[in-house]
């Protein structure tokens, strides 16, 4: 009975998220891109994580002229669903419109060499494969206990290797390198965490950086070519997870459903 009640509540909540998503889509179709972005952001802030949501959010930001936030949201889609061609196309289009076309910082070398194969695997798929491998491993070991069949030892070894590979892949997918995209037209990157500090270099909107550290309202960033410095967090859209609200988001939803 309790389970039924929980199921009903869950379904009702999912329905309300679906309605909010639809209203955001309607705002987008009506040309209210800022409003649509705010509605999508509200869903994001409520913990909804879906590639479709981030994709539409990217579109809304692109249409409202926020190239950096659009790129960051398309990257979220690609992290959740690496095979998404439309997200890739849109991100490429945005990237071509950036001023410097600064490349995305590469993943750590050990990931590039060990996990060269997992680029097209989504986090969900990696998790399922890891679980299946794990269950297979114990099933094979149980089979060995029950009856000494041939080839169970190499099969168990293979299953153990698959468990290690997919678990590592899943871990890397859920703990990706912290990337961010410059969201303001010009983002000064300074030597220290103060506006008084000397500007070391500047980022243009849409430039990729890796976030290495945070200190109050500042983030220490590093570009693909190794330049480092401190930039204001409000000038960056973090890709996540966690999926933080883009700093350019208006945060207000007009209309009766705002509450």
């Amino acid at each position: 009975m309790n389970a039924l009640a929980v199921l009903c509540v869950t379904l009702a909540a999912a329905g309300s998220y679906g309605q909010a998503f639809q209203k955001a889509n309607d705002a987008y179709e009506a040309g209210d891109y800022e409003g649509a972005a705010a509605r999508y952001e509200r869903l994001t802030s409520e913990g909804v994580v879906a590639p479709e949501l981030f994709y539409n959010l990217g579109n809304a930001y692109y249409r409202s002229g926020h190239l950096g936030s659009a790129i960051a949201n398309y990257e979220r889609v690609l992290r959740l669903k690496p095979g998404s061609q439309t997200a890739k196309m849109n991100q490429d289009l945005c990237f071509r419109q950036t001023e410097r076309r600064l490349a995305q910082p590469l993943a750590p070398a050990w990931q590039q060499s060990l996990l060269f194969w997992h680029g097209r695997v989504s986090p969900g798929a990696a998790r399922i494969l890891a679980i299946l491998s794990w269950l297979s491993l114990w099933a094979i070991l149980a089979l060995r206990q029950w009856r000494p069949l041939p080839y169970t030892r190499p099969a168990a070894l293979v299953a153990a290797l698959l468990v290690a590979a997919f678990s590592l892949s899943y871990w890397a997918k859920t703990h990706p390198q912290p990337l961010a995209v410059a969201s303001a037209a010009q983002v000064p990157v300074r030597y220290g965490t103060s506006d008084e500090e000397t500007t070391r270099f500047e980022l243009s909107e849409g430039d990729w950086v890796r976030v290495e550290d945070h200190h109050k309202d500042w983030s220490r960033v590093c570009t693909a070519d190794g330049q480092r410095g401190w930039a204001r967090r409000s000038d960056l859209t973090l890709v996540g997870p966690p999926y933080e609200r883009a700093p350019v988001a208006s945060g207000e939803v007009a209309g009766e459903d705002a509450s």
């Binding site: 998220y17 889509n25 994580v49 879906a50 479709e52 949501l53 994709y55 196309m89 289009l93 114990w138």
Partner: protein, 589 residues
Amino acid sequence: MVVARSIACSLLALLAISTAWADGAVRATVRESTVVVGQLFVIQVEASGGKVDAVEVPEVDGLTIEETPRTRSHQTQIVNGVRSATVRLGFAAVAAKTGEITIPAFSATIDGTIQYSAAVPLTVVEAEAPKPSGQGSGGEKKELGWDDVVYIRAEVDKCEVFQGEAVPLSLNLWVLDERGVSVNSRQSAGAGYPSTEGFYATPQVPEKKGQRTETREGFTYEVHELGQMLYPTAPGTLTIGSWGFRGWATVSTNLGRQGHDYDLHTDPIEIQVKPLPERPDNFSGAVGDFRVEAQVSPRDTVQNMPVKLVVRIIGAGNPDAIGAPQVPAFDGARIGDPERVNQPVGGGAVAKSFTYEITPVKAGKLTLPAFEFCTFDPAAGTYATQTVGPFDIHVQASGEKDRRLMVGGDIGKHKGTVDLIAQDIQPIITRAGSLRPRGSGLLGLVLIAVLPMAAYAALALTMARRRRFAHDQGYARAYHAKSKGQKRLEAVAESDKPAEKLYRAIVGYLGDSFDVSEAGMTSADARNLLRGRGVDGELSDSFERMLRACERARYATAALSKEEIQAMLDAAAQGIEQLEATVKKGRRS
């Protein structure tokens, strides 16, 4: 006394040897103590010790010693487990002035200690020019000086040009091609090239054109040629800067080997640049001797299927200054921006091609109108206009109806009827899958991680027990002894010979519990068995009493009453429980 003296002599000798070795740890020598000014000679430095590190070259006025040794040899010896190394380095040196020079000590770090060589005195005398044999044009032998061994020339073919006209710059290094003559450059790559400010240069720095052999005043020279094309970008007087070459030459003759350093420079070259006459409107920017070719292919096409117009401009001149021909727009077709490609075609000429994509949107015969291409010919000093076209294109009507143009968007389902002419983002997704806050799923993952392990552990224990039951009979009997004993006791009440049955139940239980044969077991045997297994005396006696009572009842004339049987059964059940508890306790302890 004699012994003490001999020991003292030995110690002195050892001291002298060690001092000599210490003195000789770093040694610097020259083959001849007199050298000629400008002559290359070698300073040999030898360093010996356990571990020889870097050798420092001293600085001395009037003498240039190369920091990098030209020869190097290394010898390692291990005697009685002690490693020693000897490094021999040959440093090339050239004296710049005559007189007495003292080469200061070379230092080397040996086993972590800096050690020095002795100073080397040197006498430098005046040089005499080498006299390689040569034949002048009149058949007379000519004596060559150092200036004739290596020299450089910078040349252009004209000093008065129009703005944008090509000025080929040729840089030649002449090296005497005689046996024993060797020339080496001392300057780094790219250094010393002439300044070309005010010119558009291709390539940016002179590149090697080739090598040829030429004869001058009866001597053969190898000429190394570098070249660069310069295009003046502004009228007035422009200067091609001086070209420099730094290096050294060595000449081996009968008199020996001599060397000479060079620091050569050419004179700057002034170029007078005339402005172009008043430019016509259709001037393309091409200055030089150019011809224009154009081609449209295919000439037959289908509506909306593009054809290509390729315009090639071939000739000598600056290809980067040539602007795209102005292809006139015409009704019934769209003309895209051209693709530009530069190609060298040999002989100093270049070809620049402009490829236009022309998409007919109307069916029928379309005519691409003629268009002009205007160049400036510097030889004639006038503009030349060449006309290209017209071109006819035959366009068949497309079978596709209602074909539309679209700027961006999703053409997926309209692919057949839509031409995408500009790119835009793909549209939003209207149907989302599961929209719900995503939990961490940690509990599920932990369960998935732990449950298989727990299940496997349970299975492993079960299988281990089953294997033990199968292989360990005593364990199996003891394990089931209590349940079997209780079942036997239950059967006693319904038996017509309860005393016998009870006796068998008790000895059966004892036999199972201790994995012994119960056949023929007497009450005394049971007591001894229990005591032997460490069961306390009272419990052993209790079992003995129960068995004796059973024995007595078996052989008694009167049957036991129900109450007596029940009392014996209760005592037996209690005894089994106590024994189980005792045995378990004994196992645990």
